[in-house]
């Protein structure tokens, strides 16, 4: 009956109740939405690269190495000689190595020279391997494999010929237009920078820079081992290592950092990724602060609306008191109305967020590489909703107290 009274009381003031409900729903929508995006951004960020034990590049800052080798942001400070790569890749502890050569672009998308090892060993997310949307890994010198975003943005598919340019701008003057590449495969979306990358063979880059004449097309057959039997480049930009045993990670890292031939450094991608994310925690906190403030505004608005309603309820208070209701009962009645508004707001906000995620999920994934899954009620979100409920009770304390005092002082 108590619940019925509170609900009926709210329904009797439909206008203000609905407006308050909307405000709270929007605030919950923002709160949960931001939490969802924040969490997913962190997750998809942390899973940009997985299964790679070490990333090796010329001596520089670890973040810089991570940024250019994984995120294709910024420029490498220096290259690594092919010899150094071979020395490390052939050492006993190493299971596999993926060389990376940067420096070219196509329509603003970075081109990465690598080997087939990339498609065999690189993984992201929870150890997910790269998958092909169409076509297959490159075989010929001038084959290219496109990230999903490159293919969809430029409208390329298997068989399209593309001209690479030196440097990064799409208007670069140095175009290697004597040697077109042919799209051999398109990768499925990953939500990582791989989507925005064009992958070609190392020797393709070498051949292109050499003028396209030194290596005849078709010189490499699928039977060829990926890392051997081609005109070796003089240098590469960086490489990723998979070790036979994770236990040896730190000793291999130390060996590489003390490599005699040239100044190299090895980083653990997981550690570097979390360091990078730390730098963005400020941004995270600002997002959280904003959603908290939106919520505070909504809850205070509700408090104000309820407070204003108490004045119109003097006769009701008197009647309830005469029926035997204690002032505390009336206090609880107002708090209950606030809780009902809050819970309905949570429900409405949550459901609309769910619907919104359902509607835009794919678009967000392909556009921002954010994978928004629909599990809204994470432990953190539940904690937040609990905090919202507490804030509601606190904000409703003012009108409830007003109700209490009017109930105490019947004249």
């Amino acid at each position: 009956m108590f619940l019925k009274v509170a609900v009926s009381s709210l329904l009797s003031r439909k206008g203000s109740a609905v407006m308050t409900l909307m405000a709270i729903s929007v605030a919950i929508f923002v709160l949960l939405g931001i939490e969802q995006i924040r969490q997913q951004a962190r997750d998809s960020f942390a899973s940009t690269v997985s299964g790679v034990d070490l990333i090796v590049g010329a001596k520089t800052g670890s973040l810089n190495l991570l940024l250019y080798s994984v995120f294709r942001i910024g420029s490498p400070t220096d290259n690594i000689s092919w010899q150094a790569y071979r020395d490390i890749a052939d050492s006993d502890d190493v299971a596999w190595a993926i060389p990376i050569s940067l420096g070219d672009s196509h329509e603003g998308y970075r081109v990465v020279g690598t080997t087939r090892a990339f498609f065999e060993h690189f993984s992201f997310g929870k150890k997910r391997r790269l998958a092909f949307f169409e076509g297959e890994a490159f075989e010929d010198t001038f084959d290219a494999v496109l990230g999903s975003e490159v293919a969809s943005a430029l409208g390329y598919s298997v068989g399209t010929e593309i001209i690479l340019a030196h440097g990064l701008a799409s208007t670069s003057f140095t175009k290697h237009d004597n040697q077109p590449f042919v799209v051999a495969g398109v990768l499925a979306p990953t939500g990582t920078p791989v989507d925005q990358t064009i992958h070609v063979r190392l020797e393709g880059i070498e051949a292109m820079h050499a003028g396209g004449s030194t290596v005849p097309i078709g010189a490499f057959t699928p039977a060829n081992a990926p890392d051997t039997d081609f005109s070796e480049p003089e240098s590469i930009t960086a490489f990723m290592l998979g070790l036979k045993s994770r236990m040896s990670t730190f000793s291999v890292q130390r060996q590489i950092n003390q490599f005699a031939g040239e100044p190299l450094m090895a980083i653990l991608p997981g550690v570097a990724l979390s360091e990078l994310w730390q730098m963005m925690s400020m941004f995270e906190n600002v997002l959280r602060l904003i959603s908290a403030l939106v919520l505070l505004a909504a809850v205070l608005g509700m408090g104000a609306v309820l407070l204003a309603s108490i004045r119109e309820r003097r006769q009701e208070i008197h009647l309830l008191r005469m029926m035997g209701a204690s002032p505390f009962y009336l206090f609880c009645l107002v708090e209950m109305e606030a809780v009902i508004l809050c819970l309905s707001g949570m429900l409405l906000g949550g459901v609309s967020l769910y619907a919104a995620l359902f509607a835009v999920g794919d678009a967000v994934f392909s556009r921002f590489g954010l994978y928004l899954d629909a599990t809204l009620l994470t432990p953190e979100a539940a904690l937040m909703l609990g905090a919202v409920l507490l804030a509601t009770l606190a904000a409703a304390a003012a009108p409830s107290l007003k109700m209490y005092t009017s109930a105490r002082n019947i004249t």
């Binding site: 009701e316 005469m322 035997g324 019947i410």
Partner: protein, 223 residues
Amino acid sequence: MAVQLTGVQFSYEKDSQRQLLDIEQWSVERGERILIHGPSGAGKTTLLNIMSGLLACTRGNISVLDQRLDQMSAKQRDQFRANNIGCVFQRFNLIPYLNAMDNIGLASTFSAGGNAQWRDEASALLSALMIEESDWVKPTSNLSMGQQQRVAIARALINSPLLLIADEPTSSLDSENRDNFLSLLMELIGSRDMTLIFVSHDMALAEHFTRLEALSDITQRPC
């Protein structure tokens, strides 16, 4: 004894020398039907609020149904009122956003231990008060004033109180509705052996009561 007031004083301002009510000795026997009349502003409603325990008197002894209200805490007085006293006012007798049935149900939740059979009893009361069944679940704001006042009787009687306090309940009714209201009220009270304290300025109602009191006779106001 239904009500006994001894040396009761009351004023809204603390430490005031001027008492709104100052009653040396006044009592009501069980089963009496008393009409209290007096000019407006004389303190009739205040007297009712003191007898119902809604207001605590500044000084003096109040017994209602042989229980000392002045020795109870506010919470105990609320509970006592819910269990033992029914109230009907001039207007605003029903929660406007609840229907007649729910108003009665709400009143029943305040009595100690609740009342599992309240629906049956409410139906019986509403039928006895000649409220049509289709009006039981209508919003009370859709009921006429006469209907509302009769539903109020049902609401006041649901917890089987021994004392009914009525504050000008007929003042907003036309004469036909007033007579209807009074006869139904007296019938129900008679069958339940209740005490009635009824405040009105309308002396024409006197024939329905066993005793007539002027407020000025009850309280000695300093002139």
